[in-house]
Symmetry: C2
Subunit: 223 residues, 2 copies
Amino acid sequence: MASQQEVKLYGSWRSGFSRRVVIALKLRGMPYGFVEEDTQNKSADLLKYNPVHQKIPVLVHNGKPIAESQIILEYIDETWPGYPLLPQEPYDRAMARFWAKFIDDKCLKSVVKASWGPVDEQEKAFEEVQENLSFLEEEIQGKKFFGGERVGFVDIVGNVIGYYLGAIEEALGQEMLTKEKHPCLYEWAHEYTSCNIIKENHPPRDRSVDYFRPQIQASRASN
Amino acid sequence: MASQQEVKLYGSWRSGFSRRVVIALKLRGMPYGFVEEDTQNKSADLLKYNPVHQKIPVLVHNGKPIAESQIILEYIDETWPGYPLLPQEPYDRAMARFWAKFIDDKCLKSVVKASWGPVDEQEKAFEEVQENLSFLEEEIQGKKFFGGERVGFVDIVGNVIGYYLGAIEEALGQEMLTKEKHPCLYEWAHEYTSCNIIKENHPPRDRSVDYFRPQIQASRASN
């Protein structure tokens, strides 16, 4: 049945949001086609499929588009059987949604501000990053993954911390997630990036560092 | 069984986010206790239950807290049987989540910016409001409610447009949602505020206007 379905993902190799969907589809064992988008010159298809935000990722299932990475993950979880992304119990599901939202709304925003933001706001943003990571530190304590014994919804959304933060730190020449301050989260990031599914489906670290470096330099130069 | 459960909502009469949870619990027929929070002087309970954001609403079910209004609505939908908030089909669910997120991330932010934001950014924000409302106009076309024939997830989240925008407009002395520009959305707002469940569980319009007016005046004075 799955083979009769047309599943296309519009994304970009460098987008952590696209990577989340890739990971979810791979975990689910769902075959799909990947359309690499040039975010500087968006395709007519992307603009048609996501007229509101005009952003990747967009998953198109039998011609019907779904945008926003976390919403796509929920859709995958509800549509095809297989590896579960969200936990089963309503309270655990609510907690997973809470932390995933926290990662996007708070952690990621503070990391971006500390790395690319106006220079005079970077110090404050760096403190916010530390505070946000401390909340995640508390949450991951005593667990291998946010999803328990295996990678789940929050881990996949957490790729921006588990994978991309390391590349940003290297491009920036400044650490944010350290073994001293956030030992459990640091260990989680290590476990996470060591998983085959994550390693195989994220760009090589050097390539991400090379992508972030000029952006950081341009932002510093313009400040 | 329901009567053996302890359900407490920490909220505020004036918060649209709290009202969403009230509406969902009422539609679901779930008895609950309401704890009115003074957002200027937050209770120890609120800080304990939502240490990350320290914000209302928080639903506490048998001692376990859930924060963030949309996440609480999903929890209610998954926990107790009764009136369904989200649609049943995965694609429809994804669309409902998409529009609900759009309302919070885009519409509401542009309304706040146009009303309370820095004076020199208000004109641009006003245009953003118009553009955002146009997307909702397109989505509601041909339907009574976003949920179809009856109030659903998007309608409940949409209280910030359906109910509160009117009060903000009145306090501001400027219309944003007009019959001329957005006839279907305008009609939806009318239908929505005419529902007994909405009327009975939102503060009287005058009280909301009185709440918004000094905020708008203070913001204008400080600009």
